[in-house]
Symmetry: C2
Subunit: 118 residues, 2 copies
């Protein structure tokens, strides 16, 4: 059985989790989990992070409705990073863009490549 | 002009960088950059990380030949994470798998979903 305690967490007890759209394969966001958030994500099927600013669990979309349904959790070779395949409802970004990675560096300048969905 | 110093680095001066295959959209790996690694990546077109274990720059593939050619660098909304679209030669993972995320949690157990390429 997979044990969340077997992962490698940083000095704050956190591990980076990359959320990727299971259908489009777009990378949506990166946030952090602790062992309990990993366990809750697997148990509930609702992707749950640890909010470093609020110092509390963050069930993604709990207030906005922009939930992430877990499709599959993957662990990297060093066991210190997670890839979370999700079914994303609406925007993943708090700016209402589908992905947080909407700024590209093109010819040395920042370029917005994605508009808010709503 | 984009200035790498405008990004948000952690207490160690590092920012996580997610490497994604520009063609297949597979997430290949996650590693860390400092401001100088970001600048070098943009200048040279060769993706360059900061190795936390070796405490030195790590031009990906310099010894293995499994280089990452930069296609596009993207910054997230909080400016504290990078998405690096790359053209990957061979495996990205030191285990010779295409991606470091070759372990999936399925029905509560770890399952290897990718074999070494070479």
């Amino acid at each position: 059985m997979f044990d969340p305690a077997s992962l490698k967490y940083d000095v704050n007890g956190l591990i980076p989790a990359i959320a990727q759209d299971a259908e489009s394969h777009d990378v949506l966001m990166m946030a952090w989990m602790n062992a309990e958030a990993v366990a809750q994500t697997l148990q509930t099927g609702r992707v749950t992070y640890w909010s470093r600013s609020r110092k509390s669990f963050w069930v993604k979309g709990e207030s906005s409705g922009h939930v992430q349904e877990l499709v599959e959790l993957r662990v990297d070779c060093d066991r210190d990073c997670l890839l979370v395949l999700v079914r994303q409802t609406g925007p993943a970004c708090h700016t209402n863009r589908r992905s947080c990675f909407y700024t590209a560096i093109r010819e040395g300048a920042e370029t917005e490549i994605m508009k808010p969905m709503i």
